[in-house]
Subunit: 770 residues, 2 copies
């Protein structure tokens, strides 16, 4: 752990400059607007340790895969989150000396991420080698109103001298990925042009031919007066800049306003991208910094109105949940169905790819409750569009007849991870994709989605499962061999309980979905059957035979569901008995030792118990929770939230609270000492779930919302918002009361604790609880 | 398969030039002398497809490992067999036109590997673009007498013209590995010098600082007359050459004699290596081509006298076994305990590393029977010297207390492979290393080896096994989890029967070895116990508890030993029912499908049945053989020989013969379409075993040899030589007789078929058999 940030309800605050924390802060203070994002690098030159990261949504690089021995079926490439040309740069010289926080004396340093307004603010005093002191105030944001625009105000005041200050605002396309398999650079630069007050660069990726055009305009003010400039202009092969120099007197402050446009060929014709960028930048410049900021702050206010969670009496918890919600809202806005939610969002390169099962398993519940249905619907359509590629992916592995295996990691529907034990075996992702369809319909009541987009995806997935199992003559059951479950501390295991459970559920739900479409839209149903050459009787008979005869490993003695065949052959040690010095074990133990140990990286059986809670009585849930929580190390960011929800379910409020803190402050307090690589964006949705589903006890059953709230003793109250089938509810829980306000939509009937209530339009309900 | 070579008892012969076969022929016609080796590249320029391969024993490159996601315990590098500077090159120009078999008309092409003499011969007629025809005769060898020397006679005759012929003998250090993880070149050149009639290059590897110096001297003869030369001399940064030009009349022949020296810093001081090379080359030059060749041929004759196998009545089988023996003798001569037997010897780059379990499991039996004991002893000492590194390797994985895990692949004792499922899990190699000690002592009676070198290795290995198992409360037995057996078409399985069996055997044999050393050399015993801090009572008690309570998977119904837990859950399909078009499956199926199938790459349970045959009755052997042979695809070169031996054992002589052909002509007829990558050197020892142990039925029991010979109906007779405890026996088997000549050593008592006989010194025994 590394706790250096100040607790605050709305802001992340770093006081004092500690270079060792800078890479971590670059992650934590990241900005994004769904269309682009950026680590919190400094505008001015910095020679210390930094991970430069400027990201443009949907623009990636298919880096040649790196493996030991190539085997058939391996993907050709590993898609890298691509560090794009940098548009924030502003070199600053004080009497000819370059400002560089690694080299000068820094004091009064404060970095603030104002999450309410979506702005990054930095102020400090720097003393140059000759004793000249300056006060710097910098503020930037990426507009969530005009998502191709970013703006910076960078002010420098001469504190103790008269002299010269120069600014060199620049654009730089000579950028590299830290994570490049063969140390290659990924960009070719097509155009570099600069003139007085502006500059533009068009670059294209060396593969896939994505074009990105970045542009800037800027001006400089002193005491509210725009200054005349005669810049010296640079146009290099990958870099453009203007250098402007001003005389200042002690006490005077210069403010540079830099307006940037970031456009990509996802949204612009390659032949017109430069021209379009010129327009975008010109419009931003015309509108001006304050107006851009004002509309940006207003838009954030409306985002918060839908998705805020308040926690009274626990600033650390309040800050954390807002941080999680803020980062999720920065990463994905649901406006573009070609985009998805990378596990690091716009905050780092690690993991590559944009789409994991995280999206369906963790992010969908968050967006379902905090955004309009279209946002989740776009996430589902994203997978629908990739169905053909999922079928081809399964074919590569030897499956036939339209069986679909969605990739473990993808950018465009193709698998782009490079470990067989993950890509070939961690197939439970298919189940999460089916479950997300079910979850979307359960939450929104948009049953028509099935006929339109859902059913063919479900059928492809169920066909995969029916081929992926085989009948064991030895067990007289269907078995599923060679699997990696959510717990990636096991590879190539047989009969992973979670995977077999969700596979079976998929084959059942697909049949329900077929029945619904057949009943409500028989012509579309027939069309789908024909398109997919679905042999209804034979295929569903096979599915039902599997459903009825699936093998699940269970400990006969205790009735605990076993993660896999042979799990009890392992030496059974509890996490509590593990020397804290060897944790996280993935940083201390060999892979061999990890694989052979009984320790679990993340919820596996419990993931299934969580999803299908209705199927199990409370004793079964408790028994499994106790067994697995004591063996789970939560070394995946996706783990503690599920455990927290189940702890709340079985009434272990203390346990739920501890796990909540772990999940919500994972990055802020750097539990796993890895935040310098970027944030765990997708698991942040799990944090949200652990409040709403965990403490709030929210469930959907038979088309109705249920809340069975608990409250940790550390909190005075908490409140959250939930969108559900046209309603927007505000739920507030204190130690003795639960209140629900029906903020939007018609009358709604729901269950609160044990009883059903109807809350009228624009009304509220308050009941007491113990 | 690709059958293009002529059948011949002593030679490999390729008639006619087919460029598509050239890379394969480069492998098959390779030369080596234990100290260096070389693919059968052409001396003259060749612009067609070729894999240049010049190898110097013990000189390798630690190429940076390539993996997807780094995990703790992974090795830092993958050792590459290193393509060293080329010393055979001789450019030839005819009236200014470069001779290049890819570009001229070639006729009467014959390439011959004379295995009796150890020489590579090539003759052809080439017609240049202007119609000039030349006859070329080339002959080269790597001396097995002076193992730093190679020599070439290269003759060109003008068939239909008067004109100019020029030779450009050169040395070239601008060489690359085809298999380089990051497309790097691995050599720096230190010295390049050339003068009239000679040239030298000293190069060093970019890592590890191996130095290699190659040198050449040459002269040219016409009609037995040495010609005066005024060469034009080139000294480039990585290349030296002499160009000499002569006028010839139609019918005249020029012969260039090139003498080369190849020295490495393994055997020479780096500061003196150039001077030493000058001496080596000068001495070879003084001795002259014919004398060098004569002593070389004589040395080969004496090698054959010890190791030849004859087969009457089946030229293909005769050629094949000689090819296998020849390649083994070229690869390893047992003179240098720092060297070992790479799976491709000096014939290609694939696999990297020099030492696999192949050495102990396959090569040791061959060298034990065909060479003096010192040869095998050096192979054992090689591992003894790596004991400390094996202990460190085990420590990396979390083992303690002197547990030793020998690497899967190594050059210097460090692991240098890069797949966790192999390096961490394919631990049965440890067992083969222990078994080789047992086998050596059984064969040579050199029991003192235990006290001197063997016991500490055995203890390190047994300590590893005792920590590698764990007690399963569920099974009430010791289990071994997370293993890859010899059958690499399974990964991370539990309770691999073979591995558990050999592990148990190791712990037993180590105790026998301890008892022997204690009894015969108690002071040394105490010294070892002290050095190893061996807690005799506690450690052996633990071992014995494991020995008594080890879990082995068995099919209760049939009594077949199961390859692993859950093997019978797989869909059971037989190899015979597999579409031949998908074989080899490793070239047609995804890795996922292979892992989930029941198909076996190579002998796994049967490997154990073979090693510990005495423990099983014939019915058990037959039952297991039938079960596994029908599921084994033999897609490892190491597989068919073991099956052949067991087939012979259970009297299936037809099956044994088919499997023999498969193993012996694997490379010659290119069964797996991969000989262009190099030969399967180590499996060649298995071929030898399949004759001597399979057909010959040779076993060692209670210190005595046993022969229970069979003969395939295709053969008139066969004979082989066996060294055993000071005797050299010549065993000849025909359809009705078995004869044994005691060629060297004292009287020997042995079992032939069912009875014990004594064969006097220099005598022979012939008995009839049915």
């Amino acid at each position: 752990m590394n706790e250096y940030l100040k607790h605050d309800e709305w802001c992340m605050i770093e006081e004092g400059f500690t270079p060792e924390n800078h890479r971590s802060s670059e992650s934590i203070f990241s900005l994004g607007n769904g269309n682009m994002g950026q680590r919190a690098m400094f505008e001015e030159h910095y020679s210390g340790k930094t991970l430069q990261g400027t990201y443009v949504a949907g623009v990636y690089y298919p880096d040649k895969t790196r493996v030991g021995w190539w085997k058939n079926g391996y993907p050709e490439y590993f898609a890298k989150v691509l560090n794009a040309p940098n548009w924030i740069g502003i070199d600053v010289k004080i009497n000819g000396e370059m400002l560089d926080l690694a080299k000068c004396k820094v004091s009064e340093f404060v970095r603030t991420l104002n999450m309410q307004e979506g702005v990054l603010i930095r102020s400090f005093v720097a003393e140059m080698s000759n004793g000249n002191q300056i006060q710097v105030n910098a503020k930037r944001f990426l507009s969530i109103v005009t998502s191709e625009v970013g703006a910076i105000r960078y002010s420098v005041a001469a504190l103790n001298f008269d002299g010269q200050i120069s600014f060199n605002p620049y654009l730089d396309a000579d950028v590299a990925n830290e994570d490049s398999n063969y140390d290659e650079k990924f960009w070719d630069v097509l155009i570099c042009k600069s003139s007085n007050g502006e500059g533009f660069i068009t670059a294209k990726t060396k593969k896939l031919d994505f074009h990105v055009c970045i542009g800037m305009k800027y001006d400089v003010y002193k005491d509210g007066q725009k200054l005349e400039m005669l810049p010296s202009i640079k146009e290099e092969t990958k870099y453009v800049s203007n250098t402007v120099e001003f005389d200042v007197k002690q006490g005077e402050e210069l403010s540079l306003y830099k307006y940037a446009g970031v456009l990509s060929s996802l949204n612009h014709d390659k032949n017109e991208i430069l021209e379009d960028a010129q327009k975008v930048v010109a419009e931003a410049y015309e509108k001006g910094y304050e107006s851009l900021l004002e509309e940006h702050v207003a838009a954030w206010a409306s985002k918060w109105a839908n998705s805020d969670i308040t926690i009274e009496g626990d600033v650390a918890a309040q800050q954390a949940i807002r941080f999680n919600i803020f980062q999720l809202n920065q990463t994905y806005t649901g406006e573009d169905e070609r985009l998805n939610i990378g596990p690091k969002g716009f905050t780092g390169e690690k993991y590559g790819g944009s789409t994991y099962w995280d999206t369906e398993a963790y992010c969908v519940p968050f967006y379902l409750s905090t955004s309009k249905p279209e946002v989740t619907r776009n996430l589902l359509i994203y997978r629908h569009k990739h169905l053909q590629k999922a079928i081809e992916n399964a074919e590569k592995l030897g499956f036939t007849n339209g069986a679909a295996l969605y990739p473990m990691v993808t950018m465009n529907g193709e698998e782009c991870h490079n470990e067989w034990e993950i890509t070939f075996e961690e197939i439970h992702r298919n189940g999460a994709i089916a479950f997300a369809i079910y979850n979307y319909i359960r939450h929104t009541d948009d049953k028509d989605y099935l006929a339109e987009f859902g059913l063919d995806v479900l059928i492809g997935i169920s066909r995969f499962w029916s081929q992926r199992v085989n009948y064991s003559e030895a067990k007289k059951k269907y078995v599923m061999l060679g699997v990696t479950g959510p717990n990636e501390y096991e590879n190539n295991i047989n009969n992973n309980w979670y995977t077999s459970t969700i596979a079976n559920w998929c084959m059942k739900y697909t049949q329900e979905a077929m029945a619904h479409v057949k009943e409500t839209n028989s012509s579309r149903f027939n069309e789908i059957m024909n398109n997919l050459k679905f042999d209804f009787d034979a295929e569903t008979a096979k599915w039902n035979d599997i459903i009825d005869n699936m093998y699940y490993p269970v400990d006969e003695e205790t009735g605990v569901f076993l993660q896999q065949d042979g799990y009890l052959d392992k030496e059974q040690i509890l996490a509590a008995d593990l020397d804290p010095k060897v944790r996280p074990i993935n940083q201390h133990w060999s892979w061999d030792r990890i694989l052979r140990s009984c320790f679990i990286k993340q919820a596996d059986v419990l993931q299934g118990v969580y999803l299908f809670e209705d199927q199990f009585d409370e004793e079964t849930i408790k028994k499994n929770y106790d067994f697995y929580e004591s063996r789970t190390l939560h070394e995946s960011s996706l783990s503690p939230c599920i455990h927290s929800i189940l702890a709340a379910k079985i009434g272990d409020i203390e346990g739920a609270y501890d796990l909540y803190l772990r999940t919500s402050r994972l990055d802020i307090d750097d539990y796993n000492m890895e935040v310098h690589e970027g944030l765990h964006i997708t698991s942040m949705a799990g944090t949200w779930m652990s409040i709403v589903e965990g403490f709030g006890g929210m469930r959907v059953q038979n088309g109705q919302l249920i809340f069975k709230p608990l409250i940790p003793k550390e909190w005075k109250s908490y409140s959250f918002k939930v969108r559900f089938r046209g309603n927007l509810l505000n739920v507030r829980v204190s130690a003795d009361e639960v209140g629900v306000i029906n903020e939007e939509g018609d009358d709604i009937s729901l269950f609160l604790i044990d009883d059903e209530y109807v809350i009228k339009k624009d009304s509220s309900l308050v009941i007491e609880h113990s």
